[in-house]
Amino acid sequence: MTDATATFDVRRHGPASVVDIRGDVTAGSEDVLMSAYAAAGDAEAIVLNFSDLSYMNSGGIGLLVTLLVRANRRSQQLMAYGLSDHYRQIFELTRLDEAVSIHDSEQSALNAADAG
């Protein structure tokens, strides 16, 4: 549980930073996720791309809450796309979807970031 088994690559798109997530997101991913967040810099929106997510446990969901707090502190929007039906349900179950806006595609998320 403590080993990082996911990678987080950051791309900049105008006012948004897109974080491409690959692998298993667990509590052990904290350092790599927070490094990615630091690399995202002063973007107005952080867009999490879950298209290549293999797995996420409850520790991973906890990390997203921590990330959300940090983003809110800097008045950044937190968005997500590429979630499978299963993880959409998990976002609803944990009520993370009330604070992280979920989009069907990267373009949709970027448009929302532009509009925001």
Binding site: S54, Y55, N57, S58, N72, H86, Q89, L93, T94, R95
Partner: protein, 260 residues
Amino acid sequence: MDGMDDRTVENTREKQVAARDATYWAKAVSRLNVSNVPEGAINLNVTGKRLAGPIQGFGKMWQKTYQVSLPRERVSPMDLIATWKQRFPDFWPEGNSFYAPLTGIEPGEVALLNMTLPGKMKLSTGVMVLYADEESFTLMTPQGHMFAGWITFSATEVDGQTVAQAQVLMRASDPIFELGLTLGGHRQEDRFWNQTLTAVADHFGEFAEVDTQVVCVDKRRQWSRWSNVWHSSAIRSTGYMMGAPVRALRGLTRRSRVVR
């Protein structure tokens, strides 16, 4: 042929991932339902409530981590979690009751909690098993619980030791609970989980010091959530207790009517 094999491997992996997802996580629920109320348990403040995570709470956000280390040769992480799941209520401090679901700690199951707060106040609430695998399980709170959040119990191997951990990510649910936490509630909670982990270590024949780490993740209170107080399990449990004599009287009256 190779392409076919790759596709087969990919399909198998997708199926395994889907099975893992379905097995470990609770299914989506809009409101909680307690199907079987164990004898002696008070089912209050759970049925019909929604789950509430740290985002829905009122107070400051805290991450509290309690750890205890045991020799690996005494117990493996997987065996520790299997035992913890199986005997979860036994490890709770005295005066507090965890009524585990009949099927045990399984994703989606709801457990009832009857707790004693300072001033001997009784509080009835519950939790839902949000996630459970071989190395960890997570309980999430309903609206009205003392705090909004979840607790993850896990075990890992670190340097030849099996480290058992309880980690709470929470905000006090409403202004009253926030005040309570500030006025000694945090200390009481720390004591609660220290006693729990000590009991886990004791079960495996070890006396071990519990390491406690407390981090304030968010200092801000979410004032827009003050109205969570409407669901307060403390207020509703107190009301229920105060209504006990009236309920008893009604029961007697009804019985005497039947006798006549």
